[in-house]
């Protein structure tokens, strides 16, 4: 496909911990098309952030790549040397993280930090960098860019800071933006505004957006496509409307059932019984088998492959045939 800009292939990453290995992702495969926005959805420990960090080339030092590749064009991002990596980090692939305050250096003004990135990535002069910084602060909806540039991070509110982070990440005009739960720490109003902002930027800058979230509401608002992850594997992948209205995988069904509905009276919130599997051991069968009420013997013994059931919709469950 000529429109594909990023190919994640069979990505398996483990974390080395003092207590042994944790299998964070196991054989994750998907493509990102130009200008597409994808939501990676899953609960804590599903490996969604690991996938995001791997694409942003920001895996922590104890992460080990067991298998797989992330192809950006012909380049495997997982096997770049440090100085090669810098040609892609920031310029081609950028990222926004969860905590807007912690991701900014407390000792320097926003202006200094923005121009640092612009000067180092694009080789702009100081004047040009300031001009560009101002332009992007306006683009993300901050009305007084002059003041923002002179401010220290602690002087701005969370919503403003996340806008600043988005401005920094997009000011180099990257092709791909990884957003790792960028609205989780914001209040609902700011959340809605930030989501709108992402949509705008995506349109204006032709960004492919990889939006990582555990919030299905957020995912449905921002994404063209949803990828549901469970225990380090993709269980379902498809266009947003299809996945939300006709979920195929029992896990997705369960997940959607847990979303409280405003017009249905319920005494208790629903939840999926049981716990996610222990990731320190390799899983033989379907990772969801223990919690699935449709599971059969084959589910516990062999791992279901992610198959394309209809064009554009993939699911990893024995219930479905190619």
């Amino acid at each position: 496909m000529k429109n594909t800009i990023l190919q994640v292939r069979d990505l398996s990453i483990v974390y080395d911990t003092p207590f042994g290995m944790t299998h964070a992702t196991a054989g994750v495969t998907f493509d990102v098309k130009r200008g597409e926005s994808i939501s990676l959805v899953g609960e804590s420990g599903s490996g969604k952030s690991t996938v995001g960090l791997a694409i942003a080339m920001a895996l922590p030092p104890n992460a080990r790549i067991v298998n797989g590749s992330i192809l950006y064009g012909d380049v495997d991002l997982l096997r770049l040397e440090e100085d090669e990596r810098r040609r892609y980090s920031g310029r081609e692939i950028s990222a926004v993280f969860q905590d807007p305050l912690a991701t900014l250096n407390p000792l320097f003004t926003i202006g200094e930090q923005m121009t640092d990135v612009l000067m180092s990535n694009l080789g702009l002069s100081k004047e040009e960098a300031f001009k560009r910084a101002k332009e992007f602060l306006k683009k993300v909806g901050l009305t007084d860019p002059e003041r923002i540039l002179r401010s220290f991070p602690h002087e701005l509110s969370g919503g403003m800071l996340q806008r600043v982070n988005i401005a920094i990440a997009t000011s180099t005009k990257p092709k791909i933006l990884v957003a790792d739960e960028p609205t989780t720490m914001l209040d609902v109003i700011s959340q809605a505004q930030i989501l709108e902002l992402f949509e705008e930027l995506k349109r204006d800058l032709d960004l492919a957006l990889l939006f990582i979230t555990h919030n299905l509401g957020v995912a449905s608002k921002i994404a063209d496509r949803i990828i549901v992850m469970y225990a380090g594997t993709i269980v379902e992948d498809g266009p947003v409307d299809d996945v939300l209205s006709k979920p195929l995988h029992p896990y997705t069904v369960g997940l959607l059932d847990c979303v409280p509905r405003i017009h249905v009276k319920e005494k208790r919130l629903k939840s999926i019984p049981g716990f996610p599997p222990d990731l320190s051991r390799p899983i033989n069968g379907c990772p969801f088998a223990d919690r699935c009420n449709e599971a059969s013997d084959v589910c516990r013994k062999t791992k279901p492959e992610l198959i394309e059931v209809v064009p554009g919709r993939r699911v990893a469950c024995f219930k479905y045939k190619r």
Partner: protein, 301 residues
């Protein structure tokens, strides 16, 4: 953008003075330290009896004179004016304080930074080397080094700095290890900044606050330890009017002429006190977040 930079500088200086004016302890520390630096720098040019100060005279008729208008700090056993000698002594103590702490920082900070940032085998080797130095009691190490290197001002400074840098290396190492896992360091890497910028813009400045405080405290300790070396006879040599040496020269006649040891001792105490008071303030000033809360607290009082 030079104008805006100048403006930021000005606002920094203004913030410094706003805070200082409202903090009497910091003010006192600041004044003491500034006085120490100023006197240390200009002392050779303001002496009323330079030949007494440098110690080349012997005036039998003026021996052991108590403090008076003519000799505010009295005179010593050679009839030299103690006031002039103490004033000139500030210069040597200043050279020692700045020299020792400066040299120790130059050695310790890069080692700690490299060890902490790169980690791995290089980090381990550098830190074990540091531990080797830390295994000796610092003053003992300094005495041994000073005795080996030979007497004199420069050797005393080198000896003290060599026994001192491991503390900075450790401190920086620990700080860098904390800071390098901060989200803003990860973010900087994701945004494509080079290691050099990350190290000097993100890691080092955020790791440096406790180092600066430690260094300003150590300025006082350096004066004290150099005085100790001189007192033991292995530091600066007479007739140089170094404060520690002046104290030790007056030691034998303390019963008849207390002023010979007292005034240089007072100078040491005052200087050390000044640095300690200022160090307290430095911590609050160096962190922009604390600075704001500090200013706010004073405004709303």
């Amino acid at each position: 953008m030079d104008r805006s930079e100048a403006k930021t500088m000005m606002s920094e200086v203004k913030a410094l003075f706003t805070l200082m004016r409202k903090n009497i302890v910091a003010m006192v520390g600041f004044i003491l330290v500034v006085a120490f630096f100023v006197i240390g720098i200009i002392s050779p040019y303001i002496l009323t009896r330079p030949e007494d100060a440098w110690g080349s005279t012997f005036n039998v008729s003026a021996r052991y004179l108590p403090p008076s208008w003519e000799h505010p700090f009295g005179t010593d056993e050679f009839g030299r004016d103690m006031f002039n000698r103490v004033i000139l002594g500030a210069r040597f103590s200043l050279i020692i304080a700045v020299g020792v702490v400066g040299l120790a920082l130059v050695l310790g900070v890069p080692i700690g930074l490299i060890a902490g940032y790169s980690g791995g085998r290089l980090g381990t080797i550098l830190m074990r080397l540091t531990d080797m130095f830390l295994a000796f009691p610092p003053l003992l190490l300094a005495i041994a080094l000073a005795a080996t290197l030979g007497r004199g001002l420069a050797n005393a400074i080198i000896a003290l700095a060599l026994s001192w840098w491991p503390w900075y290396a450790r401190l920086v190492y620990v700080q860098v290890n904390t800071v390098k896992n901060m989200p803003y360091v990860d973010a900087a890497r994701v945004l494509g900044l080079d290691s050099f910028t990350i190290m000097f813009r993100h890691v080092l400045p955020n790791a440096l606050t406790p180092v600066v405080i430690q260094a300003s405290l150590d300025m006082g300790s350096a004066v004290l330890e150099a005085a100790g070396l001189s007192f033991l006879g292995i530091g600066v040599q007479p007739p140089t009017p170094e404060w520690g040496l002046l104290v030790s020269e007056g030691w034998q006649s303390i019963n008849v002429a207390w002023w010979i040891s007292f005034f240089p001792g007072l100078a040491i105490v005052t200087t050390v006190l000044g640095f300690n008071l200022l160090a307290e303030f430095a911590r609050e000033f160096m962190d922009p977040r604390l600075r704001i809360t500090m200013m706010a607290k004073r405004w709303f009082k």
